[in-house]
C-alpha cells in the first residue's frame, strides 16, 4: 500500500497516545547513550498495545517519556513529538503536566515493593491521588479509595493497613487501584507482573482485563513475556535498540512474523508442545547503546545479515494496514511471503 493511503488511515484513528520520531539521549560521563532512536508508537483508544523487547531496548524510557518523567539531567529529548489525546505534551508547562499525571495518564511500575510509601496506609495513598485531581476533599477521596480497593479484590476494611502487611500480589493490586483511581484514559504498565508468582500473575492479569473492559482504558503493556502479550494485548510493537522494528496485530506478529529479531524471540522460548527440541537462542548480545552500529542495529546478531545491513538503515515496509517491518530482507514485492520461520 502507498504511503499516502497509510497516512490517511492514521488520521482516521482515534489515538490516545502518539509518539513520532522521538530521539532521547542520556548524556553521561562515559559517553552519550542513545536510549531512543526515532521511536514511534500509537495507542488506540480502548485498546492495549504491547511493547516487547529485552533489557536495555528502551521500553521503560518510552513509558516514562509519555509522562515526561525522563530524568533531566542526564536525559535529553533531542527531537520528536509526544501527543496525548492529540495534544503535544512537550510544549506543556510543568503545571499542565502535573494535571495530566495521575489523571489522564497513570503508570504502574515493576516493583510493588518500592512503589508504595511504607509509612502511609494504603487507603491514604490512593486517596492522595484522588484528592489531587478531584473535588470533594478528604472524606470523598477516602470513600472512593475504599471503592477502588474493593474493585481490585481487596476488602475495603483493609484500607487502614500499611503496605508491609500485604503480600506482593496484593501490593501490586493496590498500585493498580492507585493508577486507576482517577479513571485515566491511558494506563502505562511497566512489567507489572514480573515480580509476582505465576498464579498471582494470572489473577492480576484477569483483573486488569476486567477493569479495562469496564472503563475502556487504553493501555501500554511493557513486557518481555510473549505469553502475556498473547493474553492481554491487541497490537504489538517490537522494540530493539530504542527503535520499533516490527509492529502489528497479534495475528500479524504471532502468525506472520517477519523480522529476524522477532523470530529469534519466539525461538528462544521453550516450546511447551515439543519439550526436547533444542532452544535456538539469538547469538551475541544487545549492542552498546553508547556505540550503536551503523546500519541496522540487529545486523551483528542476525542470521540473515547481508552487506547492505551493515551500512544502511532499513526502510519501513507494510504488509497490510496494520503490520509493518523494518528489514532489508523485505520490499513491497516479497513482504507477503515470510522469510523467517518459527520452529
Amino acid at each position: 500500500m502507498s504511503e499516502e493511503v497509510k497516512k490517511e488511515n492514521t488520521n482516521a484513528k482515534d489515538l490516545t497516545a502518539e509518539i513520532k520520531d522521538l530521539v532521547v539521549e542520556f548524556r553521561t560521563d562515559y559517553g552519550i547513550v542513545q536510549a531512543l532512536n526515532s521511536m514511534e508508537l500509537e495507542i488506540e483508544r480502548g485498546k492495549t498495545l504491547g511493547l516487547v523487547g529485552e533489557t536495555g531496548a528502551g521500553k521503560t524510557t518510552t513509558g516514562l517519556s509519555l509522562l515526561r518523567l525522563i530524568p533531566d539531567p542526564p536525559g535529553v529529548i533531542v527531537k520528536g513529538s509526544i501527543k496525548l489525546d492529540g495534544k503535544d505534551i512537550l510544549s506543556m508547562s510543568d503545571k499542565e503536566m502535573q494535571d495530566i499525571r495521575g489523571k489522564a495518564v497513570a503508570m504502574i511500575f515493576q516493583d510493588p515493593m518500592t512503589s508504595l510509601d511504607p509509612v502511609m496506609t494504603v487507603e491514604n495513598q490512593i486517596a492522595e491521588v484522588i484528592k489531587l485531581h478531584e473535588e470533594g476533599g478528604m472524606e470523598h477521596a477516602l470513600t472512593r479509595a475504599r471503592e477502588m480497593l474493593e474493585l481490585v479484590g481487596i476488602p475495603g476494611s483493609r484500607g487502614s493497613e500499611y503496605p508491609h502487611q500485604f503480600s506482593g500480589g496484593m501490593k501490586q493490586r493496590v498500585v493498580i487501584a492507585m493508577a486507576l483511581a482517577c479513571n485515566p484514559e491511558l494506563l502505562i504498565a511497566d512489567e507489572p507482573t514480573t515480580a509476582l508468582d505465576v498464579t498471582i500473575q494470572a489473577q492480576v492479569l484477569e483483573m486488569m482485563k476486567g477493569l479495562r473492559e469496564k472503563y475502556n482504558t487504553s493501555m501500554l503493556m511493557i513486557t518481555h513475556d510473549l505469553g502475556i502479550v498473547a493474553e492481554i494485548c491487541d497490537k504489538v510493537s517490537v522494540i530493539y535498540a530504542g527503535h520499533v522494528i516490527e509492529h502489528g496485530t497479534l495475528v500479524d506478529i504471532f502468525k506472520n512474523t517477519r523480522h529476524p529479531y522477532t523470530e529469534g524471540l519466539f525461538n528462544s522460548l521453550p516450546n511447551l508442545e515439543n519439550r526436547t527440541a533444542e532452544l535456538k537462542p539469538i547469538k551475541g548480545l544487545m549492542p552498546d547503546p553508547s556505540n550503536l552500529p551503523k546500519g541496522c542495529a540487529f545486523c551483528p546478531r542476525c542470521d540473515y545479515a547481508m552487506e547492505i545491513c551493515k551500512t544502511e538503515k532499513p526502510k519501513r515496509v507494510y504488509r497490510n494496514d496494520t503490520h509493518y517491518v523494518e528489514c532489508h530482507l523485505y520490499n513491497e514485492d516479497n513482504i507477503q511471503e515470510g522469510k523467517v520461520s518459527i520452529r
Binding site: G31, L285, D288, N291
Partner: protein, 297 residues
Amino acid sequence: MSNTAAVHENEQISIKKKSQIVDVWKRLCRNKTAVLGLIIVAILVLIAIFAPIVLDYENQVIKTDYGNALKAPCAAHPFGTDEMGRDILVRVLYATSTSLSIGVVTVIVSLTVGLILGSAAGYFGGKVDMIIMRIMDIFLAIPGILLAICIVASLGNSIINLVIAQAVSAVPTFARVVRGAVMTVRDAEYVEAARAIGAKDSTIIFHDVLPNSLAPIIVQTTLQVASVILSIAGLSFIGLGIPAPRPEWGAMLSASRAYIRDYSYMCLFPGAAIMITILSLNLLGDGLRDALDPRLR
C-alpha cells in the same frame, strides 16, 4: 562447541566501565571541598616527611635564644618567636611531623586490633559477637581523656604511652565500624558461594568479606587520624602530652596562654595549624564517604 563459536564471533562489546578505583577517584574529584581537603592533607604529609630532614632539630627547633624572645612576625621570623626565642614557624612545621606520625601510628595499631575484633564479632555473631561488643562497650564508656590521663599518669609521659592511650580509646570505634561493615557483607551470596566451594571461615573473612567492607573503614580511618591529633593536642595542652622541648601544637597553645594579650600571634599559628589539619582531614573523610557510597552512583 557451537556456543563458544557463537560467543567468539560477536565480541564487539566495548568494556566501558573502568576499574572501580578510577570510578571512585573521579567522583572524589567532582567534590570541590574534598579535593581541597586532599590537597591540604597532601601538603601536610609532605611537610611531615621533610621537616625532620630539612630542619636542624638541635639548632633550629629547640635551641633557646632568649635575646630573640617574643618577636612579632617579621621577615626573619614569619610567625614570630616564642617566649624562649624559638622560631614559631619552624616549630609549627616540625610539630606537623610529630602530630601526623603519632596519628598514623595510633590509627594503624587500633585499626589492626579493631579489624580482628570487629570482623570476628560481625562474621560469627552470636556469643562471640556479644562478648566482644560488651567489652568494647566498657571501653567506650570510659571518657577518652580520662583513660589517657590514667595511662599517662601511671606509665609516664612518653610518646609510646601516648600512642597506647590513644589506641586503646580508638579500638572500640574501629571494632564497631568493622563489625557493621562485615555484617552488611556477611550475607552476600558470594560469601555463601565461597563456603560452597569449601573455603574456611578465615579465608572467607580475609579474601571475601573484608575487601568488600573497606568503604566505611577507610572513611573512619581518615576521621580517626583527625580525632587522635586533636586528642594529643588536648592532652599536650594540659601538660600530659608530648614532653617538652619537642614542639607540639597543643603544648604551644598552652604555653601561649600567658602571652595571649600582647603576643596573640603565639596562639594564632599553632591554633590555625590544628584547625587546618583537622578540617582538611574531615573534608577528605567526608568526600571519601560520598565517593565510596554505592547508592549515590
